[in-house]
């Protein structure tokens, strides 16, 4: 009984961590799904969101929920402008170039955040801090629960958004063929900027949800690499895939951290990733198809 409880506990913790990966991965997937570019600065957008929330909630003294909302609005605007001013210039260049561009942007964000907010880790109070829920021996902190609920909720909303709304379908169309989408009357450039806005908003939400669990600091964005792995694992471009990939990576890490000697945690996650990619080169929920000749 004790063993079972412990296993469930490990899996639950892994799921909570995995949901954060999934949430950041969601941002990757959104941008990829529409603009077919990989935003390597996604983790850094999350970091900016976390710091912004810190300023609004801990420094200005706003209510948690109001601060959360304002952070999301500001970051959405930031994402929109980022695309309109920078990313739009490289439309049509190879994926690789855009990937490097966002990598460079990530460097700049990190340095800018260091200058504005300093290099110390910060945190802010949330309504969930310190509260713990006990389900018959299995302990869940309210923080982890908020992450879980937030991630699954966002995933569901975005999934429906992409499959049911006009804008969502327009985004998918722009992704499949920019030129054809343009001919069909879709304002491709605006659609792209809106995607970046949504993606930055998702990143901000991830940053705010993550802040009580892992402190906000300049290098928080490196979590983006794990999230990137999660997104790839799930099949880049699939929203449920991002969540699945994130949870898989999270659980593998927790199990490895529990059963293997220290230092092997990250490597296990990477080995699993490599293994999955060898078996399914396009990820679990594949989004690619073979060109017919």
């Amino acid at each position: 009984m004790l063993e079972t409880a412990r296993v469930i506990q490990i899996i639950l913790n892994g799921t909570a961590v995995g949901c954060i990966y999934g949430l950041v991965a969601l941002g990757f997937v959104l941008i990829y799904k529409t603009t077919e570019t990989v935003n390597f600065a996604q983790g850094d957008l999350m970091m900016l969101g976390g710091f912004l929330a810190f300023t609004l909630i801990a420094k200005v003294g706003l209510d948690y929920w109001l601060g959360f909302l304002l952070t999301i609005v500001f970051m959405a605007a930031f994402g929109y402008l980022l695309d309109a001013l920078v990313l739009r210039r490289v439309i049509g260049q190879p994926q690789f170039a855009v990937f490097m561009l966002t990598l460079g942007l990530g460097f700049i964000f990190r340095a800018a955040a260091g200058i504005v907010w300093g290099y110390d880790a910060v945190s802010f109070p949330t309504p969930f801090t310190g509260r713990v829920l006990d389900f018959g021996g299995i302990v869940v902190s309210a923080n982890n629960l908020s992450i879980l609920v937030g991630t699954v909720g966002l995933c569901a909303v975005l999934y429906l958004f992409f499959s049911r709304t006009r804008l969502g379908v327009a985004m998918q169309a722009s992704s499949q063929n920019q030129l054809a989408a343009y001919y069909m009357g879709i304002p491709v450039r605006t659609v792209f900027s809106l995607t970046w806005a949504i993606s930055a908003a998702v990143a901000a939400a991830a940053g705010v949800l993550l802040a009580p669990v892992a402190l906000v600091d300049v290098n928080m964005g490196f979590l983006g690499f794990k999230a990137f792995a999660a997104a790839v694992l799930g099949g880049f471009g699939s929203i449920p895939g991002a969540l699945i990939g994130g949870v898989v990576v999270g659980i593998v890490e927790q199990v490895a951290g529990y059963s293997l000697p220290a230092g092997f945690r990250d490597v296990t996650a990477n080995a699993v990733l490599l293994g999955v990619l060898v078996l399914r080169p396009q990820g679990i929920l594949s989004q690619t198809m073979r060109k017919k000749v």
Binding site: E36, V38, V86, N270
Partner: protein, 357 residues
């Protein structure tokens, strides 16, 4: 100006124009003359530039020509560095240990090349990233051989009577190796293998239809690239004198990618420009640090932000890197005064989906 073509053999010559021959001779001459008047510190830094240029050539063959993105190059560098250092410590002469490092790195390249044959783009990038991280962990945990986090001191190399202890010795050794690697790479590129690499970059399906064996060629590309990077790693060990497992991490791999993008994808000289950029930028900043106004020079995030900014500016304004810009300037003067502004104007284009492939 390109000379008028009179024979097919002309297409295959290494240095087709008088201009290029003069340029290569000039650069070689300057590189050989520098040690006559430069101090030891600068020679050491220049040796590092050469070492990075070697690794850049390896990366260029894989990413710039074959179009396979690797975020695990640091692992190959590390394998080369550790193999060389460990063998030297056990009394193997440099002339054997350095190629052994390259060979082992090449085998590692095959080991990652074969399972990733079906991957491309992002998936390949993340798979190589995972590979790099796994190799990094091996460096940390295999303490019996690598010394783990305690690090591994590198024995000073000797080459017959020559003791390559000083930066001067390393300078000449890495210069010679760079020359050798450039010659090998240039020869690969004008051989059928090189043409197949470029064909794969263009389109895997067309390359396959033209009779290119994708599996063999892609694996070879990985192996050659890894071996060259491993060679650079062996030299790198002598540059740093002390190997630490965490110096071969993702940051280094990203530096390599940045190097070839800034230098110019798809040109061997680009690898050298990129190496100069990446090694000398920090030095340049250090030199200017005290002269900048408003204390900008002492802001903590200056170096990475400048690094990022230059990368962003390059991709927006000159996606072909330094090499591309130089070739445009060269074209301007060769056509002078008949240069047309529209010659290199980029066409407005749209992104073609890489999901259908």
């Amino acid at each position: 100006m390109r000379p008028i073509r009179t024979s097919y053999a002309q297409d295959l010559t290494l240095l087709p124009t008088t201009g290029s021959r003069v340029r290569v001779a000039l650069v070689t001459g300057v590189a050989l003359a520098i040690p006559a008047f430069a101090g030891e510190f600068y020679l050491g830094e220049l040796a590092a530039v050469f070492i990075f240029a070697i690794a850049g050539v390896g990366m260029m063959l894989l990413s710039g020509y074959t179009g396979l993105v690797s975020l695990g190059q640091a692992a190959f560098l590390g394998i080369g560095a550790y193999t060389n250092a460990v063998l030297l410590a056990r009394g193997v002469p440099l002339i054997l240990s350095l190629p052994s490092g390259a060979m082992l790195a090449g085998l590692a390249g095959v080991a990652i090349g074969i399972p990733t044959l079906r991957m491309s783009g992002l998936y390949l990038a993340i798979a190589t990233l995972a590979f790099g991280s796994i190799v990094g962990t091996i460096f940390q945990k295999w303490e019996g051989v690598t010394g783990g986090f305690g690090g591994f001191p590198v024995v000073s190399p000797t080459l017959g009577p020559l003791i390559l202890d000083s930066p001067r010795g390393l300078y000449f050794l890495s210069l010679a190796m760079l020359g050798l690697v450039l010659l090998v790479a240039a020869n690969i590129l004008r051989s059928p293998l090189g043409r197949s690499l470029v064909a794969i970059h263009g389109s895997e399906i067309s390359a396959q239809s033209m009779g290119v064996n994708l599996a063999v060629t892609k694996t070879l590309s990985f192996a050659i690239s890894a071996a060259i990077t491993g060679l650079a790693g062996g030299l790198f060990a002598h540059y740093v004198h002390f190997l630490a497992p965490d110096s071969f991490d993702l940051v280094l791999s990203i530096q390599f990618v940045t190097m070839i993008v800034v230098g110019g994808l798809g040109s061997l000289s680009g690898a050298i420009y990129g190496a100069i950029f990446i090694r000398l930028l920090p030095q340049g900043i250090a030199l200017l640090r005290d002269d900048l106004p408003l204390g900008i020079g002492h802001m903590p995030g200056l170096e990475p932000s400048l690094f990022g900014l230059i990368l962003v500016l390059f991709i927006i304004f000159e996606p072909q890197g330094v090499a591309g810009r130089l070739s445009k300037i060269a074209h301007y003067w060769s056509a002078f005064p008949l240069h047309r502004r529209a010659t290199f104007q980029r066409q407005k284009s749209y992104t073609r989906s890489e999901r259908v492939r």
